[in-house]
């Protein structure tokens, strides 16, 4: 699987790099500066929950062009850069509103022994990869079907995503803490980290979840 991911990256490096600069860098900048602002401002009751929402959005928003890329690559076609940006524009509102609503539901579900929270986390992990389907009912049905099919191995995916973020970010921070850095340096390091990690992760996960039912829309 890893070999397949890297060969796909190698074949389509041009759109992937341009989408990284045009989509992943602005989204990461907004979420990072938003998190800094939240923790600097006094009077906000729970900045941690809002920061978690921003981190979820940072993961989920840039996914749609990469699904389209994998689908086109399966048919031996090349994906144009502008088409991907258009597709991102069209899926933005759906992913934004649905992930905020599901995140709030997961937060409220903490009072019910964390069971809705686990379901909400799994839903937030999978549903962006089905966001190109026609109707919302289809997206929800396919997502729950995938959760049922894969059930225990999804924990592995979650560990990979959270572990990559936590391990690499803490590793870099332990090394860089001894110097005098400002916000701009941290922002650039975070951007570079996300540009390296996220496209590989998106291609891997979309190959994993959408391999069997690749239907060009």
């Amino acid at each position: 699987m890893i070999k397949e991911v890297f060969s796909l990256y190698n074949r389509n490096w041009q759109p992937i790099l341009i989408w990284s600069v045009l989509l992943i860098v602005p989204i990461t900048t907004f979420s990072f500066i938003g998190i800094l602002y939240l923790f600097d401002t006094e009077g906000i009751q729970n900045p941690t929950y809002l920061a978690g929402c921003l981190l979820v959005l940072n993961y989920a928003l840039a996914i749609p062009p990469f699904i389209k890329l994998v689908q086109k690559d399966e048919l031996d076609e090349t994906m144009s850069i502008l088409k991907g940006l258009q597709f991102f524009l069209k899926q933005f509102g759906f992913i934004l509103l649905v992930s905020v609503v599901v995140y709030v539901m997961g937060l409220i579900g903490m009072y019910l022994l964390f069971i809705p929270t686990i379901l909400a986390v799994l839903f937030l992990l999978i549903f962006p990869f089905f966001s190109d389907l026609k109707s919302i009912k289809d997206v929800i049905r396919h997502t729950f079907k995938k959760i049922k099919d894969e059930n225990i191995s999804l924990i592995g995916d979650l560990f990979v995503i959270i572990g990559l973020n936590v391990a690499i970010w803490t590793g870099i921070m332990m090394f860089l803490e001894q110097y005098d850095n400002n916000v701009l340096a941290f922002l650039i390091i975070r951007n570079v980290m996300n540009v390296f990690i996220l496209p590989i992760l998106y291609i891997y996960l979309s190959l994993r979840y959408r391999k069997n039912d690749i239907v060009p829309v």
Partner: protein, 124 residues
């Protein structure tokens, strides 16, 4: 038929246009906040009305009304929970902002629908 996915698409594109426009206009320093907010409001709800008529051609007015209320309530919630501005203590202000948003969006939608009908009539 009212299409939910197209409606969410409309709201998202309007939010994205507002974000990009605000970042761009931040480079030019406008001295008064009133002009800044008026420009932002015009861009947000204008684009919302236009795309509501373009992407939901069967039910343009429902889509425009729901989108305007959704965006204004979202902005109220964000300013209360994220920026800690106590907007919910001023009910008259909430009513004013929502009604202004709805009026502006419906105006742009009706103009767009009028132009679409004129064009369809001219070609047919």
């Amino acid at each position: 038929m009212f299409e939910m996915k197209k409606f969410l698409q409309t709201v998202g594109v309007s939010i994205l246009i507002t974000i990009i426009f605000s970042v761009l206009i931040g480079f030019i320093q406008i001295p008064s906040y009133g002009w800044y907010i008026a420009l932002q409001m015009l861009i947000t709800y204008g684009s919302l009305g236009y795309f509501a008529a373009k992407w939901n051609p069967k039910t343009p007015y429902t889509s425009a009304f729901l989108g305007a209320t959704t965006i204004s309530i979202m902005s109220l919630c964000i300013s209360y929970f994220m920026f800690n501005i106590l907007v919910f203590w001023d009910p008259a202000g909430i009513g004013r902002s929502i009604s202004l948003a709805v009026i502006l969006t419906l105006l742009v939608t009706s103009i767009t629908v009028f132009i679409q009908q004129k064009r369809a009539g001219a070609t047919a």
